[in-house]
């Protein structure tokens, strides 16, 4: 079974997306950590509305936002949703991979790696985030930037 899968959502029109430099210049919005290795930035209304109008099949109410990863993500299982239910899936669309060999890894409960994927840019994909997972291999000093569909309004 694959825990990381490309999904058949439409590509995001280029004119709705900011450049990595423009995204990094946006103000941070709250996330689960205030550390620099995981940051969020707001998407503009046009992009948020495009996602709501064009993306179907996400099993939760969502809001589009930019996700920025610096120097990798340690192994973890995502925190529960605000209603206490586990967060099972994340949907992301990579704009800058942070390097040519950045791997997203799924681990079993003994931390053994059971799947490794170098996810392609500009392709919607899902990650089973109630499994332990990590991101490794970023080029030092570079950021991995994605458009992410975050659960909201539950």
């Amino acid at each position: 079974m694959n825990y990381i899968n490309y999904v058949d959502f439409p590509p995001v029109p280029e004119n709705l997306l900011l450049s990595p430099e423009e995204i990094l210049a946006l103000p941070r919005i709250p996330s689960v950590t205030n550390k620099d290795f995981f940051q969020l930035r707001p998407a503009n209304d046009d992009l948020i509305n495009w996602c709501w109008e064009n993306i179907t099949g996400v099993p939760f109410k969502f809001r589009a936002q930019y996700q920025i990863i610096g120097y990798g993500i340690p192994i973890h299982r995502d925190q529960a949703l605000p209603n206490g239910e586990p967060r099972t899936l994340a949907f992301n669309y990579l704009l800058d991979c942070g390097g040519s060999n950045v791997a997203t890894r799924i681990h079993d409960d003994d931390y053994t790696i059971v799947e490794t994927e170098i996810i392609k840019p500009l392709r919607w994909h899902s990650i089973k985030v109630d499994m332990l997972h990590s991101v490794v291999g970023l080029v030092p000093g570079r950021f991995r930037i994605a458009l992410s569909l975050a659960p909201t309004g539950i």
């Binding site: 689960v32 550390k35 290795f37 995981f38 990798g72 192994i75 299982r77 931390y111 490794v136």
Partner: protein, 179 residues
């Protein structure tokens, strides 16, 4: 149900243990009492190649924000406490960890804020009279511990035994859960 710890299998533990001891023995002259030692330059520990390799496998190599050495003398249990500033610690046995335990507790009385004698680090102390043990693990192999829960260390070895020494790697882990 609260999960307090997770055993982690790593390669080359014996080599890592010896290299940590080599650094430790050079840095401080003697350890005779229970205390946590925070090295001035923890990069030396974190650059042990065999350790780096294991940390990379777990994705932790860039996510350790603090390193300590916990020395526990045989006999008296260390105080029941919870750590402050992080949830998870990846602890590796270095010496004398056989026949020692990390015990976890529930407490019916809130903890008191205290500071360690040696380093002045803040921690929360629990009165044992109000604590009930809920879980225990031995430290003869590496564990990730949820140190935000009340816990203590007991070295059950007889007086005169080797000191129990563990390497404490505090994990920069705020995105979710590790168990």
């Amino acid at each position: 149900m609260t999960v307090y710890f997770k055993q982690v299998t790593i390669s080359n533990l014996d080599i890592i243990q010896q290299k940590v001891l080599n650094i430790l023995n050079r840095e401080i002259n003697s350890h005779s009492h229970t205390h946590v030692y925070y090295p001035d330059n923890d990069r030396e520990y974190l650059e042990i190649p065999e350790l780096v390799e294991e940390l990379k496998k777990l994705g932790f190599d860039q996510h350790i924000f603090s390193t300590g050495i916990f020395v526990v003398a045989p006999g008296m249990p260390a105080p029941i406490h919870h750590d402050v500033g992080y949830k998870y610690s990846f602890n590796l046995p270095i010496q004398g960890c056989e026949n020692t335990e990390v015990n976890f507790f529930n407490s019916t009385k809130p903890p008191e804020e205290r500071r360690t004698v040696d380093s002045g680090k803040r921690f929360y102390y629990y009165d044992p009279a109000y604590c009930t043990q809920t879980a225990s693990c031995n430290m003869s192999s590496p564990y990730i511990l949820n140190t935000s829960e009340p816990h203590n260390i007991v070295n059950l070895n007889p007086a005169g035994s080797k000191l129990r020494i563990t390497l404490l790697l505090r994990l920069n882990e705020e995105l979710g859960d590790l168990f």
